[in-house]
Amino acid sequence: MASGNSRSGLDKFGRPLVVVTGLGVVTSLGAGKADNWAKLTAGQSGIRAITRFPTDCLKTRIAGTIDFLAPQSSTAALAETFADLAAEEAIAESGLGAPGNFPGPLFLAVPPIEIEWTQRIEVGSRSGSNDKTTYADLMRVATQFPDYHQRFLFGSVADHLAEKFGTQGSPISLSTACASGASAIHLGVEAIRRGESDAALCIGTDGSVNPEALVRFSLLSALSTSNDNPQAASRPFSKNRDGFVMAEGAGALVLESYDSAIARGAKIIGVLEGCGEMTDAFHRTRSSPDGKPIIGCIASAIKDAGLTPDDIDYVNAHGTSTPENDKMEYLGVSTVLGERAKTVPISSNKSMIGHTLSAAGAVEAVFSLLTLNNQRIPPTINHDIPDPAIMMDVVPNKARDARVTHAISNSFGFGGQNVSLVMGLEPA
């Protein structure tokens, strides 16, 4: 496809270079890049007591909910609202295509969609069953709720976004658990490198703060129970970390081939230099104790970028604040970076915005690119009691100016999912 001479648009491996021309984000801190970046670098927390539903009898009663937008009646509707906002911002910044006609495919990381208790109880109540209520009763009245069919299909969020933004072809809804957002970007990078498209819209979104989702994580003992001081609950890499904080948000990236961006005179925000992935077959929720899949994932992303570990000067950590993750991530990062792991800054956005689950990889890619653009590293807040076993510069509590040329963002999820993304500034 590429001609023999014009090499500027290709990476070191002869593949189309993938750049970022639009970013959008919404988190519990606010809507938009400006607001989020200001609060993130000020070390503000978006974690608060849950008010969306009563929290009686729950062990965890805090989350990073997005409460400044109109309420929605389901995870699907919330996820769609957040993704829509982030995509609007990213596409507007990129200036790519025309309204309702985005010239590339959609890759959407979205939480699993299902009918929730609000609706289940509504249908049950309509069934008028006097005695024990079962699905057989609900089935009798199901056709009275035609809208619930498409709302609770897995593909509905992506479909609505595809319709609105006019993305090309069949939209991909995907899940790699807590690595989903990074996988959406990875798939977009691959599509552009294949020459299949000059652009891709990659979004990660999540709006899962509902009673059953919270209980599910709670029953796995994954969540912080520091309910009394919500803003201090997410404490990645601290000795007294006690679990992650569920949170909501969306991140959107417009990816584009370098040649396409240059041809239309677009502003290049950064380069998606490399992607790495390695699956862990050790356990459904725990990492292999030797850390090999995480190490392999990080190393392969750096290699895919055509770089060496010495080129990495910032790590945007997965940093969930669970005892297990932060320990394993330290093992992975310190193994790959070697001695430099003690000095290369690593910080966790989740200390402020919580764990945005399916969105996290995309939200944190957006923040990594803002870090590169601003040459300023957001802190890991709530870092009062360092874990002596984790000997890294976690940028404790205060943002810091720094020279950052190549950043790596990690995402690890249940089911052995590991994805790392390497991002850089446009080559001078």
């Binding site: 249908v123 699905y135 809804s173 995907l174 209980v215 994580f217 029953l219 249940f414 052995g416």
Partner: protein, 403 residues
């Protein structure tokens, strides 16, 4: 990336359904030509429950089986069959770089807990507290892992050691079409050498029946083959399915001495908004990319038509106006008449059945009184596979005999 696309072979299949397991069993049942469904399990709705399976043969550890719900067991089992079929089972040098794309739904539920909450809520003094208390007290902690969409992939990694990469696509029928499309594109472009692709679906779930019945989609007794349902209001019968393919670059297969079961020549997909005529138009656009490759006389169509009224009518219009118009003697078969509608794995299943038919060099008999399916006695070299989602998603693939 500038190189010509690489040829991609299907070197393994693993299938389970109401008909049984494996290509031979499926072929035998399809040749008998007597589709039927189960009308008693969720009367009056018809489903196609999975045939009895001895899971131990592919999931040896009981502990692993306990960690899974039905859809994951069906999928992990079918994936194991596919790895066996491709002769890569246990070969960790290959499995450690094998890419995996799974098409999945998820969310199997604890029906007793749901019923307890639905029954108790109207009587509870504090309904929200009652809900929280029951969820905290009654849900078993590991149920979440049986519900997460990406945990079929996770289980396949754990049980079979597939660890190159792991991606799970969601979105009903489209997820199955796009899983194969992207796995194929990656191999053709040199981004991957070998992939495990497929999915699983458990039809024996009243909560899933409810989801589709919200739109009145579920087929009620009496059972009829897919094409005959339109004049009776349409509808699909959910089917339990597990369907996996091992696909790989021809040179990768040759290097390890693997035989091709068939060539996966092309997979195309699209999304239309399903205004009247939109699905037919989308399929016609996909067909334009393929039609020059299809040779009259030795080709057939394996249709993924579900029976959903509008989608199936539009597919029929497409087949009659485009495919049969250009290739008058092309025979069509809707496998959904036999297997039911399996959502995510429906398309991979039909690719696998195309492989089975090509292996026998012939097509199974028609089962359709509406007149679309016609007998075919000529030798079979090519199969056009269709996938038309009941609500969204259109796909076409071409599977061909090698040699």
């Amino acid at each position: 990336m500038a190189d010509a696309p690489r040829e991609v072979w299907i070197t393994g299949i693993g299938i389970v359904s109401c008909l049984g397991e494996g290509g031979d069993t499926h072929w035998q049942k399809l040749m008998e030509g007597k589709p039927t469904g189960n009308a008693s399990m969720f009367s009056p709705f018809i489903v196609h429950p999975i045939a009895p399976i001895n899971f131990d043969t592919q999931i040896p550890k009981k502990g692993d089986q306990r960690q899974m719900d039905s859809w994951q067991r069906i999928g992990t089992y079918a994936a194991g069959l596919a790895l066996d079929s491709a002769d890569v089972k246990g070969k960790s040098d290959i499995l450690s770089r094998m890419d995996m794309i799974i098409a999945a739904g998820g969310g199997e539920r604890d029906l007793n807990v749901d019923s307890t909450i639905l029954t108790g809520t109207p009587l509870a003094a504090n309904r929200a507290a009652f809900l929280n208390e029951k969820l905290m007290g009654d849900l078993r902690p590991t149920l979440f892992l049986a519900q997460l969409s990406n945990l079929l992939a996770g289980n396949i990694s754990i049980v079979h050691g597939v660890t190159g990469s792991s991606r799970t696509f969601m979105g009903e029928e489209s997820s199955g079409i796009d899983a194969v499309r992207i796995a194929l594109s990656r191999i053709a472009a040199g981004q991957s050498d070998i992939a495990l692709v497929g999915g699983a679906h458990n039809a024996e779930r009243p909560d899933q029946l409810m989801l589709y019945e919200f739109a009145g989609n579920c087929l009620k007794d009496p059972f009829r083959p897919v094409w005959e349902r339109g004049e009776h209001g349409g509808g699909f019968a959910l089917g339990s399915l597990g369907a996996f393919l091992v696909i790989e670059a021809r040179e990768h297969a040759e290097k390890r001495g693997a035989k091709p079961l068939a060539r996966l020549t092309a997979v195309f997909s699209d999304r239309s908004n399903r205004k009247p005529g939109a699905a037919t138009a989308a399929l016609s656009r996909l067909w334009d990319k393929l039609k020059d490759k299809v040779k009259s006389g030795h080709a057939a169509v394996l249709s993924g038509a579900s029976g959903a009224k509008a989608a199936t009518a539009e597919e029929r219009t497409f087949l009659e106006a485009q495919v049969l118009e250009a290739n008058g003697d092309l025979a069509v078969r809707a496998t959904g008449s036999y297997l039911g509608h399996g959502m995510e794995p429906q398309f991979p299943m039909n690719l696998a059945l195309a492989v089975v038919a090509l292996g026998h060099g012939q097509l199974f008999p028609p089962s359709d009184a509406s007149g679309l399916e016609k007998p075919m006695s000529a030798p079979l070299d090519q199969v056009l596979v269709t996938g038309v989602g009941h609500w969204r998603g259109e796909g076409l693939a071409l599977v061909e005999r090698v040699g």
